[in-house]
Symmetry: C2
Subunit: 108 residues, 2 copies
Amino acid sequence: MIKVTVMYPYAEGARFDHDYYRTRHMPLVKARLGSACAYYTVDQGLHGMTPDAPPAFVAMCAFICDSAEGYEAAMKEHRAEVLGDIANYTDIVPVVQYSEVVVERSDR
Amino acid sequence: MIKVTVMYPYAEGARFDHDYYRTRHMPLVKARLGSACAYYTVDQGLHGMTPDAPPAFVAMCAFICDSAEGYEAAMKEHRAEVLGDIANYTDIVPVVQYSEVVVERSDR
């Protein structure tokens, strides 16, 4: 099982519409990925190590998928639509990484 | 619900013992956090946006908790032990951030 994590670096004054991201963008991407994505998660950054430090990322999401190949194949057809929607909620360029899921959740 | 995410930035030649992290360090932290932490997740970075690009983070974990206050209170007593164990698996200084869990998992 793999995870595609998309992270939006904090930048003073940058725009990020968390409501649009949660209610519009993420459901859109999931719909396009279909069964290639088991589920996704969404986090909103609060702060860094201390409450007065900004978070490294204002928002993070992860797509949990059976394989990177499945994710890529599903995304390939819809990349233009998905990337084109980003301007609707942010002007931040996200950092993307692929990870192996080592522990999906420790209580299961 | 909040998430404390701990991210280990990729650095050429840096040391990271994924086996120790999964089998020793993470269970130790969970044991010390007790009921303040509902569960944790562990990821191992594979690559960046493209397969030939290094991942931003070689490893990432997240502690899903009811509150930041609960996490802090539980961690306070055991911080020295937890931080002291880091040298056993890496020489990378992690990035830590607190997030609000917006979507815990989209299929539930």
